[in-house]
């Protein structure tokens, strides 16, 4: 994209990432309050609206401390009469679920749209959670786009639907939709001035309890029926393409795009029903489709959500129709779909040979790739975590310990070469798991959390551990931003889309009553060993706060301020091939010269953090002092 495309008030065609198109759609719909907690694959929605917000003085944009606060913030705005929008990753809705379910009962006032992005293949998530079940469980209408253009169109329509029926509307995407770019036809961008309301002008009742809850549930179900019959049955997002013969395919989301190519590869012409409204389902439309065919193949990633429901519709509509999908083992429950997996699945139903031998390409490639080294994601050059973790490794190497890890860049501790993680469940879980383990185990119980995760979900766990007099050590790795998702601000940051107050982690930890608090400078690895050892010896809740800014974030600040990034170099005369700069440190900017077997620093990668220089016992690593 070019940023000019996103802010251009005129209609135009632009090459955009779906997440950028989604952000533009929300802005075109005059969203007044937007709040997010970042999470892949939705983070670029936040990032785009964050940048747009600096151009729009009628938009209140916040990075919230977590997903439920984000949802409640935009729900509050909707109750107060202006449009609200939030987006979160699949597991983000677990955090926001409590309010989400109640909003399904209370309904909303001004248009309120929630986008959730599932992650088939678990590219950057702890699970392949299928968020489609949320829509039905909470009585919330749900839309599912396939492409960048459709994501844009659906977000826009979702606001109209939400306002017409006074319901929260959910859009469910998957990674391959969010991280798909394409040409998107944008409409005019026209905003209205921000207007504050008085409660008496907009007021409604947004509580649900006992008799009210039972009444509201009934009303929500009635509204959903109306949405199904009056909106979804005739909705162009549900697209019927007539083919030939008695074979039908029902699909949705990105699987639809794979299907379009798969039928081309297979040279078949089935009837295709692409569903864009997946809760409530357009039951009549599906029933009519089932009457046209003898065989129907259901193609959807993750759980057999459509398959089960289509099977139920078929019971009355066409009991003799044969239904193929996951229950019949033609398609997989695990992993994301591709053109080749869809071709294979359809072939297995029809008893056709796969026209392209995909397995041949894969098997040949696997043989050829046997010489390739693994390339795992790792801490960036200049990352404060690498330095902190170097010291932690030296401090714990002679004790028995358990590491309960958490969600953030430091999650990479579970990967090679570190492999220092015994549990990792979800945001904030490291505290609670440690609390349970300390009742039982003889080992030192260690938790790792980041600054953003601390604010997001670790506070209750820490309060609980202190209150119940637990014996654990908690490392809070404070790098000033939510690094992994793209260095967005969190409550400990000194910046935001609107003015912010920086929350002091140390003050919170002390106020909770943690008796042993150790502050360390992430970039001072050798001195940190003893400080960490001392913190480990404390019986009770011991908190170590390691401070040092995220390298990517800090590099951006430096570039903005015109501060040069000065790489280091290895003095060949001094290097005695001790490899202290390599062992337990693993910086991507350090390689080895195969002839001299000495360490070499790649100047285009080195961040100049000087930590490797501090580790070298013979002081052979020096700054290039800007001479490059």
């Amino acid at each position: 994209m070019t940023f000019n495309d996103l802010i251009d008030p005129n209609p135009k065609k632009a090459f955009l990432l779906a997440n950028e198109a989604i952000a533009r759609a929300a802005i075109e719909k005059d969203v007044k309050v937007a709040a997010f907690y970042p999470g892949s694959p939705t983070s670029e929605i936040l990032d785009t609206i964050y940048i747009l917000a600096s151009y729009l003085d009628d938009l209140k944009m916040e990075v919230a401390s977590n997903e439920i606060v984000a949802l409640e913030t935009v729900a509050g705005a909707s109750m107060a009469g202006v449009r609200g929008f939030t987006a979160m990753k699949s597991v983000g809705l677990n955090v926001a679920a409590d309010s989400f379910f109640s909003l399904g009962y209370t309904g909303v006032n001004a248009g309120l749209v929630l986008l959730i992005a599932d992650d088939p293949h678990a590219h950057s998530s702890q699970s392949e959670q299928d968020g489609r079940f949320f829509g039905e469980a909470a009585h919330v209408p749900m839309l599912e786009p396939s492409s960048a253009q459709e994501a844009y169109d659906m977000v826009k329509w979702a606001f109209d639907l939400s306002e017409k029926y006074k319901m929260l509307v959910m859009i469910r995407t998957t990674t391959r939709v969010n991280h798909q770019s394409g040409i998107v036809q944008l409409d005019e961008l026209k905003r209205t001035p921000f207007k504050r309301n008085d409660w008496k002008e907009v007021q409604g009742k947004y509580y649900t309890l006992s008799a009210t809850a039972r009444r509201l549930k009934g009303e929500a179900l009635k509204k959903l029926k109306k949405v199904e019959e009056e909106e979804f049955e005739t909705n162009p997002f549900n697209k019927l393409t007539l083919g030939e013969g008695d074979l039908g395919i029902i699909t949705s989301g990105v699987s639809y795009l794979h299907v379009l190519e798969a039928v081309d590869v297979l040279n078949i012409n089935p009837h295709i029903l692409k569903l864009g409204t997946t809760h409530p389902l357009p039951r009549k439309m599906i029933a009519n489709f089932l009457k046209k065919v003898n065989k129907v193949i259901i193609i959807e990633e993750l759980m057999p959500y459509l398959e089960l429901r289509v099977t139920a519709i078929a019971k009355d509509a066409n009991p003799s129709v044969e239904i193929f999908g996951k229950y019949t083992k033609n398609f997989d429950y695990v992993g994301e779909y591709t053109v080749q997996s869809v071709v294979k699945g359809i072939s297995s139903v029809l008893g056709l040979a796969t026209p392209v031998n995909y397995d041949f390409y894969l098997e040949r490639a696997e043989k050829l790739k046997s010489i390739l080294p693994k390339r795992m994601p790792t801490f960036c050059p200049g990352c404060p975590h690498r330095s902190t973790l170097w010291a932690v490794q030296q401090a714990i190497n002679e004790i028995d310990y358990v590491v309960n890890n958490d969600i953030g860049c430091y999650s990479m501790l579970l990967l090679e070469p570190y492999e220092i993680t015994d549990s990792l469940l979800c945001m904030g879980a490291s505290l609670g798991v440690s609390s349970g383990m300390q009742h039982v185990l003889n080992d030192k119980i260690i938790s790792f959390v980041g600054d953003s995760t601390f604010f997001h979900a670790s506070l209750p766990g820490l309060v609980n551990a202190v209150h119940n007099k637990h014996n654990i050590i908690v490392f809070i790795l404070d790098n000033a931003v939510t690094a992994m998702t793209g260095q967005q601000p969190n409550p400990g940051s000194d910046f935001g889309a609107l003015p912010v107050v920086e929350i002091d982690i140390e003050a919170i930890v002390r106020a909770i009553g943690v008796e042993h608090v150790t502050m360390i400078n992430a970039f001072d690895p050798k001195n940190n060993i003893d400080k960490i050892k001392e913190a480990l010896e404390f019986e009770g809740v011991s908190v170590v706060i390691s401070k040092g800014p995220c390298a990517l974030y800090n590099d951006r600040l430096k570039r903005k301020r015109g501060v040069p990034i000065i790489p280091n170099m290895v003095d060949k005369e001094e290097c005695k091939t001790i490899y202290a700069c390599i062992r337990d440190f693993y910086c991507p900017a350090i390689e080895m010269d195969m002839e001299s077997r000495q360490a070499v620093i790649l100047k285009d990668l080195c961040d100049g953090c000087m930590v490797c220089a501090k580790l070298c016992p013979v002081s052979s690593i020096k700054t290039t002092s800007g001479v490059q």
Partner: protein, 210 residues
Amino acid sequence: MVTGYNIMLSGVGGQGLMLLSTIVGNACNKLGMKVITGEQHGLSQRSGSIYVHLRIGERVHSPLIPYGSADIIISMEATEVLRYIEFLKDDGIIIMNKRIMHPSLVTGDIAKHRDKNRTYITLEQILTQLEQVTRNIIVLDATKLAELAGNPRTENTVLSGAASALQEFPIDKDILKETIKDLVPSKTIEENLRAFDMGYEEAKKIIASL
């Protein structure tokens, strides 16, 4: 009309692969051509392996290239060509930077087993494997050309110039250059256009010798 042209872009997180995809995507938009990508964001910014499936033409729909269907792989790093080789069609084209960025995992392993004389993978080893799939391999020193162009961060532009030297590449060289002008920071336009031309000339020479 282009019915389908599949480009697999690969590299190491942090090398600027997304700009390459953005240049081609915006050029397609200028030309009114259908284009769709499947991109990798997230974890792999951090020195991990990274890719973009870039697909042009009226008959492409999926954001992912099927195995054995990429017309070309353009890679900013040598091992990352081989990592995605299942996507290349037989006798497809490879445009690759000769640079190898050795994972810190391997460097750590060599340091740990200092007595065993372990070594890094070499460009020759990679090429031997690639030649079993295609003979159409264009190897450039994009890192050096970018430096010569005046900005080491223009490796991606060098490679886009090289791609435009291919007769079958669906986007004209001048359109690509125009798009680069629109997309890169104004003070780096000169360097980028130089890098583009150097990539173009170098690839022309190599193609003539193939």
